[in-house]
């Protein structure tokens, strides 16, 4: 009996001793790692709207956005290139997850600002999280001269707000999808028939083509019976290319405005009528 036990012990120890020679690093204990997903989107915009991406701490992402006139204007306007709207602005990282931004658009001479906070990060491992999520609140101020200066005008009428919950998942290396429930509050609307709070849902899709290029699709669905029936939803298709510190986004969209209130609640042009614009965003990241 004793012998048998001895044999077993010896067998065990010798096999142990051998297994160490096989692989020095494998101690049989699974690594307590959490792997966070990175680069769900290439930059912090899908096309018009924000993506869940934030700029890192102390980095400034300088952005210039152009939207040209309708392609349907033909050769006389060089397919819209003669008339452009633009926004100049930037996003700054207070922390890796907290960003602020400012911009000025030619559309309605609008100044806009936002605060964005990423509060969930997609991860697997010890900490499992299926999605990345961020909250963003925008404020916009229209600085156009009053169209009817003779009547009583309130400066609060110039203000509008947009709040968004951005939820995204990188499904594969190439495919990311984002859903963005959105509410836009307009202090002033054209008629009492229309709502001041406009609810919409944004969908953004990114499909990588190569390491440095991807195709982006973005659609905002505005829930019915909230606005003027002439208005329509914004649909954008873009192509992204990244070259070191720059990201170029080239796209077609039916919206004129590069800020949320404008492209969600002021879009009237319809793709089916050929009223599509060419546009581009240029982003350049600076480190401080």
């Amino acid at each position: 009996m004793l012998n048998k036990i001895l044999v077993i012990i010896l067998l065990l120890t010798s096999s142990l001793a051998f297994s160490q020679v096989m692989d020095l690093l494998d101690d049989g204990i699974p690594e307590p790692n959490t792997e966070y997903t990175s680069a769900t989107f290439k930059t912090n915009r899908v096309v018009n709207g924000h993506s869940i991406e934030t700029v890192a701490k102390k980095e400034f992402d300088f952005k210039i956005s152009h939207r040209f006139g309708f392609l349907s204007t033909g050769v006389y306007e060089l397919f819209g290139l003669d008339g452009a709207t633009m926004r100049i602005g930037g996003d700054y990282g207070i922390t890796d997850n907290l960003n602020v931004g400012l911009g000025r658009s030619t559309v309605d001479k609008t100044y806009d600002g936002f605060v964005k906070y990423k509060f969930l990060k997609q991860s697997k491992g010890v900490k499992n999280m299926p999605v990345t999520a961020a909250w963003i609140s925008h404020i916009g101020i229209t600085s156009l001269k009053w169209p009817q200066p003779q009547r009583e005008n309130f400066s609060s009428s110039r203000l509008h707000y947009t709040h968004q919950l951005l939820v995204a998942r990188k499904f594969t290396e190439g495919l990311s999808i984002q859903i963005s429930p959105t509410v836009t509050h307009l202090n002033l609307v054209d008629s009492t028939k229309y709502k001041n709070d406009i609810i919409s849902i944004g969908v953004g899709v990114r499909q990588k083509l190569t390491h440095r290029t991807s195709v982006n699709l973005e659609y905002y669905y505005v829930l019915p019976d909230q606005m003027d029936a002439d208005k329509t939803n914004v649909l954008s298709i873009g192509f992204e290319v990244e070259t070191g510190g720059h990201v170029f986004q080239l796209f077609f969209t039916n919206s004129r405005g590069p800020f949320e209130k404008s492209f969600i609640t002021d879009t009237r042009a319809k793709w089916l009528d050929g009223d599509v614009r060419f546009g581009f965003n240029i982003a350049r990241v600076f480190n401080f």
């Binding site: 012998n3 001895l6 044999v7 010896l10 067998l11 120890t13 010798s14 001793a17 051998f18 160490q20 020679v21 692989d23 020095l24 690093l25 790692n33 792997e35 990175s38 680069a39 700029v55 890192a56 701490k57 980095e59 890796d96 290396e173 390491h211 440095r212 990244e242 070259t243 070191g244 510190g245 990241v285 480190n287």
Partner: protein
């Protein structure tokens, strides 16, 4: 009875051989450091990994490294993203490994404080490409802790790392890799 005795002796012998084979034991760390440095006239790029797993067998001189690519930290977040996404495909190839030997192991007295050098030769695997790497490593023994330092050059193009023309002049073809690890006895 006789059979069992023989068996025991045989097993004892095997066990003994196995143990004496690495009487020196295994020396290990999970917090080794790897730094790499790419120098060009346009840009210097550097990154650190402080979670390197490495071990060596003091009797055979067998040496191993295992490195998670995502654990490399860059001073600029964007560089780190490009490193993982564009150059290393770290989701597809999460690990880089090295397996080799400390060729002059017997000259290193792990019981005696001091500094020793030895050639190290082995295979470095990155992005499923394996190439032989040789270098001279310095081992410093201080009260049972063995610090090892080594450096060698890596050409990214050897490991299937494509560098596009636009950034071609910003990335060196001779990236210097520095190793610095403190090993402790485990068995």
């Amino acid at each position: 009875m006789k059979k069992i005795t023989i068996l025991i002796i045989a097993l004892l012998a095997v066990g003994l051989v196995a143990f004496t084979n690495h009487s020196g034991g295994i020396y290990k760390t999970n917090t080794g450091n790897i730094n790499f440095y790419s120098h060009t006239s346009l840009e210097d790029i550097t990154a650190d990994n402080h979670k390197v797993k490495t071990a060596f067998d003091a009797s055979s001189g067998k040496l191993q490294f295992s490195v998670l690519i995502k654990d490399f930290e860059f001073p600029k977040a964007l560089m780190q993203e490009h490193f993982n996404e564009n150059y290393m495909n770290s989701t597809k190839y999460p690990k880089s490994t090295f397996s080799g030997t400390i060729e002059n192991m017997e000259a290193i007295n792990l019981a005696q404080n001091g500094t020793y050098t030895s050639p190290v030769r082995g295979n470095l695997t990155m992005k499923d490409v394996t190439k032989e790497v040789t270098t001279i490593a310095t081992f410093t023994v201080i009260n049972g802790v063995i610090n090892a330092k080594a450096s060698f050059n890596v050409n990214p193009e050897d490991y299937n790392i494509n560098i596009p023309k636009v950034v071609s002049k910003k990335i060196s073809r001779e990236i210097k890799v520095f190793i610095d690890a403190d090993y402790k006895h485990t068995h």
